[in-house]
Amino acid sequence: MFISHLDVIRVFERAFRRANLPISYTKGFNPRPKMTFTPALPVGTTSCSEYMDCEFDEEILPRDVMIRLNNVLPIGIKILEAEVADNKLPLSSLNAASYVVSIEDGSNNEAKLRNAIKEVENSKEIFIEKQSKSGAKQVNIIPLIYSIEVLESNSEGIKILMKLSIGQEGSISPSVIISVLERIAGFEFEINYIFRREIYYFDGNKKIFPI
């Protein structure tokens, strides 16, 4: 959870070598293993639904890849399922992710939070400043939010479920939503954790998963 996307790529590059798996390399002066990943997981976020495509020089059973990689992956990173990628949903088409954000309910702020969520839902536009290479620009985040809801609320805190856009059509991280909600609700959240639960293609009605 505390490592960056580039760190994860390096973890797999080395794990493939330790597992002695025949991963294909790009041609050229600086060969890289042929792997593609789903969009970067923000540092500090845990997840149970990351996907990668990888290409091999020879035919190999997905199950073998999974077992051999799991033998050499560090604690905290595990392959849950492996299948042949041909004829499946390409990773580049994924456009949605669900996050669970758990915050402390220090002084019974639940009502304020629910109001803030409602206000976001009813808004047509909320602009935030986004840093890019060409400088700061204003982005409307409303089209990037599918839904926000309170999942449960108890003595351990409040769990919020956020379904947000990722991928080529634009993406937004849950921490940005949190800061928007904080601004509207007028108090600062004590975050326990942020967890990415699912990544999928959302066609407007249903979720389609890569595996």
Partner: protein, 618 residues
């Protein structure tokens, strides 16, 4: 709240949280109930620097081979996390099991750089361990240290309980064996210190009386009892082929400074450059055999998955079987796309041919280290490189397609005049001319000149010399800046002079400096090697408050018969040899490489060394 929960909450707020979380591949987990001795291996800098250091890796895996010992790691927290640690009252903890450092049996520091000393004090404070050795009690860990700076242990003499001088692979095991007996019998720390002082290579400063002359120089360092050695002989691994070397290195998640698998090919250096401490203290040269290295390389890559293997030593080109080794490794790793990196390579036709095969070098450009701008000065420092060598190598490199070279020099070397400084600029210009002659113009050429200020080091022929003053440093750097301003192919950068001044103070310092370190720490000094944090003003007031004159250490020309704080250490080389080298330097005479002819430094009495058989006596 448990520490784990608390960390989960606050680590997202700091930069690079993986510096503090551990759990990297190949890191070692043991149950604390199963062990007898708990050792915290500490590096007084951030994770990325400490994890790049070979010595701490060797000791980590070596100690953990013993199932009754658990060695964990701890690094200096970066300022953002330190602030939160203090705010949330978190004591310094180990990376593997998050155990408070105060609960360990040993806390062992690696001393790589004098300007990390304030970090040692800061880490002790964060660990809630008393800073001075005399204030610690039986329940505190034994605070120990080793590494190159330990060759002059005195500045930390009041802070470190004991030092291990030299290569520690054997000594550390002897120390652990002794400690197990003492711990099993519940004997006090005092008794252990008097016993451990008898192990070869161990220096317990509290068991030695230090006296000074009226002029502030050292009069004597004498053992309080004749059971303790009058001189501490450095430890040395005579046969590296039989020495322990790990193959299952920890693979960090985050990018570290040297993010590759290290394969040590030999220790020691035969060149005898007169400014170089490493060249003296690590003598004699001991190579590992290519056959053993090939096997190790294969095991290391299989166990770590690293995409790059680095052949490490003080001077890679000197390795007698370099061609055989690099050819077989390139062949072996072609399939799995593992690159070789060859740092510290002397640039010549052979190494360029090698470099072409070994892609990693191309990215980083080539580094030449003539060290001084004129032949006269290169002879004084015994750097056996001529201008012709350099220009020919540059010529070969440019012909082979390189267009970026780095030239590394020192300023303030003994006997240096402004002519030598101008010589640096002239040499750089000649390199540009070589390029122009080949390509017709200088398009695409980058010559990066960098200078650092010479710091006289213990156990070198220049240990008697003063450092040049801050004004002189400034003057010489300004001269170079003006000389390079005209040429747009040359860029010039320099090492902060004030930092070099403090390095000079502490590298040849004595025990009186302990209170300066404490005062500097209390003024807020830490991470002094980091430009954006370093504050010279805080150091100046630390010296003032302690009533210590730093100039006494940096600027004094030491008398030939002066007793030095580091004379308590015996590195195997005779002081007489160093003095003779100093005299030769004053006459501009050079001394040949050990491989050509023995010059009788005396290290042969340690009964090791590939070139020490045909020794001479002086």
């Amino acid at each position: 709240m448990t520490l784990d929960r608390l960390l989960e909450k606050i680590l997202p707020k700091v930069s690079k949280p993986a510096r503090y979380t551990g759990n990297e591949y190949n890191s070692i987990l043991k149950r604390k109930e199963d062990i007898d001795v708990h050792v915290a291996l500490a590096f007084p800098d951030i994770y990325e620097v400490g994890m790049s250091h070979l010595g701490i890796k060797i000791l980590y895996h070596l100690l953990n081979e013993d199932s009754t010992i658990y060695a964990e790691r701890v690094f200096a927290p970066w300022v953002d996390f330190e602030k939160l640690m203090r705010e949330y009252d978190i004591p310094l903890f180990s990376l593997e099991t998050k155990t408070p450092i105060k609960d360990f049996d040993f806390l062992g520091f690696t001393l790589q750089y004098e300007m990390s000393y304030t970090n040692i004090i800061n880490m002790l404070e964060l660990a809630r361990i008393p800073i001075f050795s005399s204030e610690r009690c039986d329940k505190d860990p034994l605070v120990i240290a080793g590494g190159p700076c330990a060759y002059n242990p005195e500045p930390l003499g009041d802070i470190i309980d004991f030092f291990v001088i030299g290569e520690a692979e054997e000594a550390i095991v002897e120390i652990m064996d002794l400690y197990k007996i003492f711990k099993a019998n519940g004997r006090p720390r005092r008794d252990f210190l008097t016993e451990v002082a008898k192990i070869k290579g161990v220096y317990v400063p509290s068991l030695y009386n230090v006296t000074y002359n009226e002029n502030g120089t050292l009069r004597s360092i004498l053992p309080k009892s004749n059971e303790f050695p009058a001189k501490i002989e450095k430890r040395l691994i005579a046969n590296l082929n039989e020495a322990y070397y790990p193959t299952d290195f920890i693979v960090p998640y985050i990018n570290i400074v040297h993010d590759r698998a290290p394969l040590e090919i030999f220790r020691g250096c035969s060149h005898g450059c007169r400014f170089c401490q490493a060249g003296m203290i690590y003598r004699p040269v001991r190579e590992k055999s290519a056959d053993i290295l090939e096997k190790m390389a294969k095991d290391i890559i299989a166990s770590t998955g690293y995409g790059e293997l680095s052949l490490t030593s003080l001077s890679t080109s000197d390795y007698s079987q370099l061609k055989q080794l690099t050819e077989s490794l390139t062949e072996k790793f072609r399939e799995s796309k593992v690159g070789l990196s060859l740092p510290s390579l002397r640039i010549d036709a052979f190494s360029l041919e090698l470099a072409k095969k070994v892609q990693e070098i191309r990215k980083s450009g080539l580094t030449f280290a003539p060290e001084a701008g004129t032949q006269r000065l290169r002879d004084i420092i015994n750097k056996g490189v001529t201008e012709d060598d350099l220009l020919k190598s540059a010529h070969d490199a440019f012909l082979s397609g390189w267009n970026t070279v780095k030239l590394y020099f020192m300023i303030g070397l003994p006997g240096e005049t402004l002519e030598d400084i101008k010589g640096i600029a002239e040499l750089a210009n000649k390199v540009v001319d070589v390029y122009r002659k080949i390509h017709g113009n200088t398009k695409g050429l980058r010559v990066n000149v960098s200078t650092s200020t010479f710091v006289p080091k213990p156990f070198t022929p220049f240990q008697w010399h003063p450092q040049i003053t801050l004004e002189e440093i400034d003057e010489r750097q300004r001269l170079l800046k003006s000389l390079f301003r005209k040429n747009k192919n040359i860029s010039y950068n320099w090492h902060e002079g004030k930092l070099s001044f403090l390095e000079a103070v502490f590298s040849r310092g004595d025990r009186k400096l302990g209170k300066v370190l404490k005062a500097a720490h209390d003024n807020g000094c830490k991470f002094d090697g980091w430009n954006d944090i370093f504050s010279f003003e805080k150091w100046v007031s630390a010296f003032d408050e302690s009533g210590i004159d730093p100039n006494f250490y940096a600027y004094r020309y030491r008398e030939k018969d002066e007793i030095f704080p580091w004379d308590i250490i015996d590195i195997g080389i005779n002081k007489r040899f160093l003095q003779k080298e100093l005299e030769k330097s004053e006459k501009g005479e050079t001394t040949p490489d050990c491989r050509i002819r023995c010059s009788g430094c005396g290290v042969n009495r340690l009964e090791a060394g590939d070139y020490c058989e045909n020794k001479i006596e002086i």
